[in-house]
């Protein structure tokens, strides 16, 4: 079977191309570097089978970055190379093309985004290009499938080109000549749309637009998430699932143990989706009724941001500021998403390049970025004492975020790459890539997180059954009284807050605490590891070692902050 490798610069649409040819979805976005894993698939045409391989995007073959090495290796093993080129960026793309030509493999060029080029008034003489390079050149539009059939037919005509190796300088000279021969522009005056696009990258207007977009993202993610909960999931759970559980509960009366594990404890004689702690009650509800709706809305918005091409611009705008705390601009997205729910926030640290950055930002999110339910707690507990105490808590958390960020910058060693980022043109999101991406991500979340969260719920349930939880609370209670100025009951609330912040809020309210005590306990509750789900996500994304390190930092930071607040306030 012949191996066909898709090679090209980052963000030229190789993955969309792959999805088109194979029918197997490969994640694609409108920014460079989306493909980090290699996708393979078999395609057949007229009874002949090919193995299609989607290689990571690369600017050159001889460079020493990981993605480039992988791409180079795949090309060495290839029988046919399909060089996918962004037609709107012909000159730069040709550098890699020339390197590929030197590999002496049968080659075909797919001139992708052909529609975009024609809209922009760029003319490319395809026949001349094919003649100069000595290989077939096929214009295609991968998103719509235009020209793809012809490309597959052309695989048989892939030819080994004849070329003399040359140095960098000579190569750019050759490319210049090729471009002069085949490409012509018809310039158009910048329209107001062009100016608006440019404004997103200018210092002042860019920041203002960025603020607006971030506010909008935050609002829409919560709007869709809460909408899903209030109008679809909660009604489903309470109207259909609840009676089902009640029926099951009756059938399980023969085994109290099984009943506790599956259904959990009854609260006021009823099954409580948030507090019963059964695998089928709390386990299913927290996962599908609380986290899933935010996952869906978050990934939908993220997909939109990715496909339009705004995300890299936001990253560029914030790079200077984030650099000061040891991160680069891509870290703003996880942080903002953490404000909704820490789980997707930490999951989205996948867009960060280095492990060090992922660790720093995950710790910062889980400690100093309050999630939606934590914020509900802050407002719920302190709101009746006025706006000032609420703002004080936010201010303290912001301070913690900055100080902790600076400390981690110096404490955690690791590779922090210098910024060289290609900014993709704005594109209109295309639903045929947007929706499959959303589905793939939601499916991935369900497959990966469901068992883990269930396990967490089971563990907490067992801790309760063996009376270990109240015991822990009693053991640390005196410490709370002495150093943090909080009554010992609060320690139990904090331990419970590990599960769900809203449970903790309900318990904190009847304790008759002073405003100072409320501020301290809200801050500690917010800084304490958010909830079981976040804990598990960190374990899954970063591993046990990092989770333990993060937990130590969390314990240390929250107690230290509590001590200081008790002295200062």
């Amino acid at each position: 079977m012949k191996k066909v490798v898709l090679a090209g610069n980052p963000n030229v649409g190789k993955s969309v191309f792959f999805t088109r040819l194979s029918g197997i979805y490969a994640v694609s976005s409108n920014y460079p570097g989306t493909t980090v894993e290699i996708s393979r698939s078999q395609i057949s045409r007229d009874g002949v089978k090919f193995e299609l391989i989607d290689a990571p995007g690369t600017y050159a073959l001889e460079a020493d970055a990981e993605a480039e090495k992988i791409a180079g290796k795949l090309i060495d093993e290839a029988d046919i190379v399909v060089n996918v080129i962004d037609a709107g960026n012909l000159e730069r793309n040709l550098y890699l093309t020339f390197e590929l030509l030197e590999k002496k493999k049968p080659m075909v060029i797919a001139l992708n985004m052909w529609d975009e080029v024609q809209r922009r008034g760029v003319r490319i003489d395809i026949q001349a290009l094919s003649h100069i390079l000595g290989i077939p050149v096929i214009p295609v539009v991968a998103t719509t499938g235009e020209g793809m059939k012809k490309l597959i037919q052309t695989l048989d005509h892939a030819r080994v080109p004849i070329i003399v190796p040359s140095s960098h300088q000579e190569r750019w000279h050759e490319i210049g000549q090729v471009i002069q021969a085949v490409q012509s522009f018809s310039y158009h005056k910048p329209t107001w749309v062009d100016r608006l696009k440019e404004a997103t990258l200018l210092p002042v207007s860019g920041f203002l637009i960025g603020l607006g977009v971030l506010y909008g993202v935050f609002w829409v993610v919560r709007f869709i998430g809460e909408g899903l909960i209030n109008y679809i999931l909660d009604p489903l759970f309470y109207r259909f699932y609840y009676p089902l559980l009640l029926g099951l509960d009756r059938h399980l009366s023969f085994s109290p143990f099984l009943r506790t594990i599956l259904i959990g404890h009854l609260v006021d004689g009823k099954i409580d989706f948030e507090q019963s702690l059964g695998l089928l009650s709390t386990g299913i509800y927290v996962e599908l009724g609380v986290v899933l709706p935010y996952i869906i809305s978050f990934y939908f918005i993220l997909g939109l941001l990715e496909d339009t091409g705004y995300l890299p611009r936001l990253a560029v705008l914030l790079d200077g500021f984030f650099h000061r705390i040891g991160l680069h601009g891509y870290a703003i997205v996880p942080t903002l998403l953490g404000l909704g729910c820490n789980v997707p926030g930490i999951m989205s640290t996948r867009i960060l390049e280095s492990k060090t950055e992922r660790f720093i930002i995950s710790v910062l999110i889980s400690i100093a970025v309050p999630c939606a339910s934590q914020q509900a707690l802050i407002f719920g507990v302190l709101g009746k004492h006025g706006t000032m105490p609420v703002m004080l808590v936010y201010f303290i958390l912001l301070l913690v975020w900055i100080i902790l960020g600076v400390i981690l910058k110096y404490a955690v060693k690791g590779y922090r790459p210098a910024l060289v980022l290609e900014i993709p043109p704005y594109r209109f999101p295309y639903w045929k890539t947007l929706l499959p991406k959303l589905w793939l991500r939601v499916k991935g979340f369900l497959k990966e997180a469901l068992p883990i969260v269930s396990l967490g719920i089971l563990a907490v349930n067992l801790l309760f059954m063996t009376n270990l939880f109240p015991y822990i609370a009693q053991a640390i209670g005196p410490f709370f009284q002495k150093y943090l100025g909080l009554p010992s009951e609060v320690s139990l609330v904090l331990v419970l807050g590990f599960l769900r912040k809203d449970i903790a809020m309900g318990l904190l309210a009847p304790l008759q605490l002073t405003v100072k005590q409320l501020v301290i306990s809200s801050v500690i509750l917010a800084m304490f590891f958010p909830c079981v789900a976040t804990f598990m996500v960190i374990l899954k994304e970063l591993g046990a070692k990092k989770l333990i390190q993060g937990t130590i930092i969390m314990l240390f930071a929250s107690i230290l902050t509590g001590l200081i607040l008790n002295l200062v306030l």
Binding site: L317, G320, E422
Partner: protein, 93 residues
Amino acid sequence: MVFLILKRSIAPKSADSNYSLIDMLPGQIGTITEIDHGHGLVRKLCSMGIVPGKKIMKVSQILVGGPIVIRIDDHDLALGRGIASRIKVRMEI
């Protein structure tokens, strides 16, 4: 800040090539003359089309030590300040 503004207002307009991307004003066009950096990065920039002799336009310079955005053949690239200061240009008046 005042210093910054002062420095900008006397931004060089000569054809001297001893200026980097940092010294250019947004909207200004120039030609890359030299990349004063180690081999690895030069190669990377080269593969992305940033080579001596290339005409570029500076689009923007992000505040608080942020990156420089340049336009090269109708597409935009962001470069960290460290790298940008080592890319020498001859500015057009």
